[in-house]
């Protein structure tokens, strides 16, 4: 056990100087600041900041769970929205669609499942279900890599979308097809939104700690070895199959949990929420932050979400000042374009990601360290 924990502890505390590493202090202060965010809501009765940080945290879990699978192990998954959808629809089905009687043309149809699962257990179940799907996808996809894996995962996501859009609505009258809210009216997980914020924050911190430790442990080193050279790792008598399937399951588990929280925070879930562009948005967050570094993709998701939000605010302010309504509409049209433009620009001009590049430059200039290698 001590041998297992040694590299993890070393990533938090410098073993030579016995001091906590400076980057961990930054993270600690950052999370301390995040715990203070609800004060804003209590003081001003405005919910925008809490909502923004809540959504960002959920997306950050998506990003770090993608990163452990694709950035670390090199199994590029283009269908991460599939696991998100599994979590989200699990919550949607077992809180509304299957447990409540539906009314169609005046006649009441009985509920399909007559159990009421408490929210916390439901979230855990959706995580495990997503992990199970991760196993189902991970085992057959062991042979595949690169474009072949990309095609397989995109197709998985599309199959799930088709299933949700065409087959699921036939199951129960409450579920609607071709709508932006196919299952609506989800109950809130806890009574107050501030408590929900804290729950999501704690889950985010736990996920970050777990995945960061996972990547810095001996398991993580094996994952890196698989990415660099899989035959070489096999030659070192490493059972790469086990590690690849495990990391698929771990990644899917966290994505499923975050998907369940996404459904709770939206109050509804639909096929439109889990389309292919969600998968690409998750990838864009990791790439902007720096692929293959858990903290980088965490920072990248915060960077992108807050950048987009502040541009929205600037557009609103400008339209308030100038009196032209067109600016906000203009921005709304272009919001997604920024996502996809950012990913292209960063990949072409800064392939290590913005945050990683900045950290590497800092390290090179002040600490005389070599930059880490990516891709």
């Amino acid at each position: 056990m001590k041998e297992f924990l040694k590299p993890i502890i070393a990533s938090f505390i410098n073993p030579n100087t016995k001091k906590i590493r400076p980057s961990k202090w930054v993270a600690l202060i950052f999370f301390m600041l995040l715990t203070l965010v609800p004060i804003h809501q209590m003081a001003t009765e405005n919910t925008w900041l809490v909502k923004l940080i809540l959504t960002t945290n959920i997306f950050a879990i998506f990003a770090i769970s993608w990163d452990i699978l694709s950035g670390y192990t090199g199994q590029e998954n283009f269908g991460h929205h599939f696991f998100v959808g599994v979590g989200g629809f699990m919550v949607g089905l077992f809180t509304v669609a299957l447990v409540k009687p539906g009314v169609v043309e005046g006649a009441t149809q009985a509920a399909l499942v007559n159990v009421n699962i408490p929210g916390g257990i439901l979230i855990l179940i959706s995580g495990f279900l997503a992990a199970f799907f991760g196993l189902l996808i991970g085992v057959p996809c062991l042979k595949l890599s690169g474009p072949y894996l990309a095609l397989a995962t995109i197709s998985m996501g599309l199959i799930f979308y088709e299933f949700v859009d065409k087959i699921l609505p036939g199951l129960h009258p409450v579920i609607k097809s071709h709508a932006t809210e196919s299952i609506r009216g989800l109950p809130s997980l806890v009574s107050s939104p501030i408590l929900f914020y804290y729950i999501v924050l704690i889950v985010t911190i736990i996920s970050l700690l777990v995945l960061y430790s996972y990547s810095r442990s001996n398991y993580g080193f094996v994952l890196k070895a698989i990415k660099k050279d899989e035959p070489a790792a096999k030659a070192m008598s490493i059972n790469t199959t086990f590690y690849k399937v495990t990391v698929f399951m771990v990644s899917a588990f966290f994505a499923g949990i975050a998907g369940a929280f996404l459904a709770y925070s939206l109050g509804s879930i639909a096929g439109a929420d889990i389309q292919t562009n969600l998968g690409i948005k998750i990838i864009s967050m990791c790439i902007v932050g720096g692929i293959g570094t858990i903290s980088g993709s965490f920072g990248g998701s915060y960077f992108l979400m807050i950048l987009l939000w502040s541009m929205n605010e600037i557009a609103r302010l400008l339209s308030d000042i100038t009196g032209i309504d067109g600016i906000v509409t203009f921005y709304k049209i272009f919001e997604d374009i920024f996502y996809f433009g950012a990913i292209v620009l960063v990949l072409l001009f800064m392939p290590h990601g913005i945050l990683t590049s900045v950290i590497n430059k800092f390290n090179a200039r002040y600490l005389k360290k070599k930059s880490t290698e990516l891709w």
Partner: protein
């Protein structure tokens, strides 16, 4: 011809035979109970309907996959932007050819707009990647192209701000076709130069860049044209053409079928009879050996991507009139289908993908006509995954380099 077939595609004949037997056997087997159930000719009509739909869609998928396989084979690059060429082809063609109530030559304006934007982006990219100015700050390097871009783009910005100006060119259909193909060709060269070549070493980075650019273009088209669909004019009036056994076919589909066959034959001739095409095939076999034999690989990449983009645009122009109007999101299904067909055909086997296109079209349309039309897409996607798991190198391909 037979010797060439034997030499280059030794399994082609066997595969053709298997396909023909499969189609004939399975469909006849399925046609009998359908005929019994509905009585008389309806089963046969349904069968004929399936066959003609299979043929039309087979040509359609072949046209898409041929281009995709060209880049996949020659440059070892998976270009997920391929579907966007299809979408853009339909949109640009509709833009140039739609009738407008103004005599204002909007299409010429649009044409020059796009050329200016492409040129400025290219200049900016060139300036950015210059070696001697590496130490200059970014904004100094990009000042000229950015200022020019802003000047050129003020009219387009006005368009984006919901000015109700009908985007229509009122041009002759053939001139529109030439304009569209030219623009798409330029765009594909630009894509190759600016986005694919810098990250070409990493196959996954190419995937991410191209799919992100495809989503980018989707949103851009959404912003310019609005989310409502755009009708694409057709070269031919809608009418039904009588075939044998009471079967009829839409004239637009028939046009698509013949144009597609013509284009595929043209590409086959280009690949096998001209020096350029032979160069592409040589690079597809072994790019290093081809370089040693004096083939300009860079030119071959450019040529392959241009040809593939123009084929996709042609498919967009001729299929959207009967598939429904052009909408910004159609590219994803198209690119997935092209990718699947190429995987089934096999890496490095460019004309194997033509056969694979017919096989997949048959499977899809068989599901539609005899099982359920809502299962069509799911069956197609499930087949992709089964192919990937059982035989990732495809029917006619060798073990790939990926």
């Amino acid at each position: 011809m037979e010797q060439i077939m034997k030499k280059k595609y030794p399994k082609m004949k066997i595969a053709c035979l298997i396909l023909a037997l499969l189609v004939a056997g399975v469909s006849l087997f399925a046609a009998v109970p359908a005929a019994e159930a509905e009585g008389g000719f309806s089963g046969l009509t349904r069968f004929m309907g399936m066959i003609q739909t299979t043929l039309v869609y087979g040509v359609f998928y072949a046209l898409l996959a041929l281009g995709f396989a060209l880049i996949f084979g020659a440059a070892r690059v998976v270009n997920l932007y391929h579907g966007t060429f299809y979408m853009l082809g339909a949109y640009l063609f509709a833009t140039f050819a739609r009738p407008s109530q103004f005599n204002f030559p909007f299409s010429a304006f649009l044409f020059f707009q796009i050329v200016i934007v492409a040129g400025m982006i290219y200049t900016g990219y060139k300036k950015f990647s210059e070696k001697e100015s590496k130490n200059k700050p970014v904004f100094t390097k990009l000042r000229f192209p950015v200022v020019m871009l802003i000047f050129a783009e003020v009219p387009l910005l006005l368009l984006f701000l919901r000015v109700d100006l009908p985007i229509a060119g009122n041009l002759n259909l053939f001139i529109s076709l030439i304009f569209t193909c030219g623009l798409i060709g330029l765009l594909s060269m630009l894509l190759n130069k600016a986005a694919i070549q810098p990250v070409k070493k990493e196959s996954v980075a190419v995937l991410i860049v191209t799919i992100a650019l495809a989503f980018f273009t989707e949103r851009l088209i959404d912003a310019i044209y609005g989310s409502s669909n755009v009708p694409v004019p057709s070269f031919i009036e809608t009418s039904t053409v009588q075939l044998i056994f009471d079967a009829t076919i839409d004239s637009k589909r028939l046009l698509m079928f013949f144009v597609g066959i013509f284009l595929i034959a043209g590409v086959w001739l280009l690949m096998n009879k001209t020096k350029t095409g032979k160069g592409v095939l040589a690079v597809a076999q072994d790019s290093e050996a081809a370089t040693l034999m004096g083939i300009n690989t860079q030119f071959v990449f450019n040529f392959a991507i241009m040809l593939s983009a123009i084929l996709a645009a042609a498919a967009g122009i001729f299929t959207t009139p009967f598939l429904g109007d052009a909408s910004p999101a159609i590219w994803l299904g198209v690119v997935i289908k092209a990718f699947a067909v190429v995987i089934l055909g096999g890496l490095g086997s460019i004309f194997g993908s033509v056969l694979a296109a017919f096989i997949l079209a048959f499977v899809e349309k068989f599901t539609k006509f005899y099982i359920s039309s809502s299962l069509e897409e799911i069956v197609f996607l499930v087949i992709i995954i089964i192919i990937l798991l059982i035989r990732p190198q495809g029917l006619f391909g060798k073990k790939g380099r990926f």
